[in-house]
Symmetry: C2
Subunit: 233 residues, 2 copies
DNA sequence: TTCGAGCGGTGATTCAGATCACACATCGGT
DNA sequence: ACCGATGTGTGATCTGAATCACCGCTCGAA
């Protein structure tokens, strides 16, 4: 396994990034039982309704978290960034996974088996607390998601919300007011609960109103305020 | 405070119900710091966007958990039954409450301050684990909620889902296939994300198709299977 | 009793967005 | 260069549900 061939300094570097808020003893205990692997794009970490096997810590790359109805329609809950942990709720409660996790780009991900995690949680309250904090944040995002999706029937408002959210994520980057568009219109539709065609038309409309400019896969948002005025409508 | 006047046997009875899966020592530690109060109908335990003060354990009665958009529209996330704990996520993460909790009937509720809870969690991993389990279940319900709401555009499908869910809740009661209707059409609309009028029309339609019969505030569902066939549509 | 507020029921109208049906661009592979 | 796959752009059409406007009922308060 590639896991066991990475050298010690690499492991510590990765640990620093993911476990920065854990004490060294707990972090190393976790490292002991973690299986770190590199996944290609499109790999499915776990699927909705599967029995829980363990948690996945995203160390590098982005992962798509989605649910899908029996008829095939899909709703993307959120895009998980490096540093987050997936599957905590299912592992702790023992219920099946509520969503499907699929890599959107090559990812480095550490897997921790359910049994190992539960054992460590029991002997160390700090770890339990740490996981609970992560879970709380998942919960918060999910609540916000549901609120944004349901309490704005106009599709343009939802898209505006999504774009503003992206701006916030990129706020610290070198180019604020500018977003790399890493999703197809279809996927964007699945994030805001509309059809692909509607997304295309909305983008066209936004361009016409000079709310956005597109340049290849780069979106420029000249004045964020105008976009925000679509929200709350 | 009424809290301190309840006698010991009453406290143990209540504890049994809520803390049944906690060891006696942890349960009693919790009881020490819990403030148990009886709330009237319509009391607001906490409101969306408030800073977290602590968690609320519902010992008796039902609590409505909702979010609302700035325009005044409301979405009811779920009806919380006795035995559940509200506000865990906010207390642990320190973020503001994501929803508003309002009693739907006279309730007996124990409040535990954030500081007390965090202190106890730190010194006792079992409690942390217990809370995490509760939080996991909240998370699961919320995920299911979002999936059911978004992945079925037809309003009748959503209503059918809601009714079937109610049937499941009452499955263990003396009268299966029968539900006490404790909400207005308006509230039902807020649960499934439709207008009040649509709910009225849907009920009328369901009656016409003999999927339900109404008798005062009692709903009878003769054959659940027919209702379920509306789902998946 | 009367009044008024809240809830339930129903019609008429309207519209945002789903759906269908295309055409076109881009791109990687054989 | 060819091809298929995949993503995008755009019209025409249709429809489910929101919205508005109104009526009647019930129940509790004055």
């Amino acid at each position: 396994m590639a896991t066991h061939t990475v050298n010690h300094t690499q492991r510590l570097a990765a640990a620093d990034k993911t476990f920065c808020d854990l004490s060294p003893s707990v972090a190393s205990a976790l490292e002991e039982v973690a299986l770190t692997t590199t996944y290609p794009t499109g790999a499915v970490l776990f699927a909705e309704a599967q029995a829980p096997r363990g948690v996945f810590m995203v160390r590098r790359g982005r992962v798509k978290l989605s649910v899908c109805g029996c008829d095939g329609r899909t709703l993307i809950l959120r895009i998980v960034q490096a540093g987050e942990v997936l599957g905590i709720a299912s592992v702790v409660s023992g219920r099946e996974y509520e969503a499907t996790a699929e890599t959107q780009e090559p990812c480095e991900i550490s897997f921790i088996r359910q049994s190992d995690l539960m054992r460590l949680m029991r002997i160390d309250g700090e770890l339990a607390l740490w996981l609970t904090r992560h879970l709380s944040q998942d919960y918060s995002s999910t609540c916000r998601e549901i609120r944004d999706l349901m309490l704005s029937d106009s599709a343009s408002e939802k898209l505006a919300r999504l774009l503003v959210g992206w701006l916030d994520h990129n706020a610290e980057s070198k180019n604020p007011g500018q977003v790399k568009l890493a999703m197809t219109h279809e996927e964007i539709g699945q994030m805001i609960g509309t059809s692909r065609e509607t997304v295309t038309r909305l983008f066209a409309g936004f361009k016409k109103q000079h709310l956005i400019q597109q340049n290849g896969s780069t979106l420029m948002i000249p004045n964020r305020v105008a976009l925000e005025s679509l929200i709350t409508a």
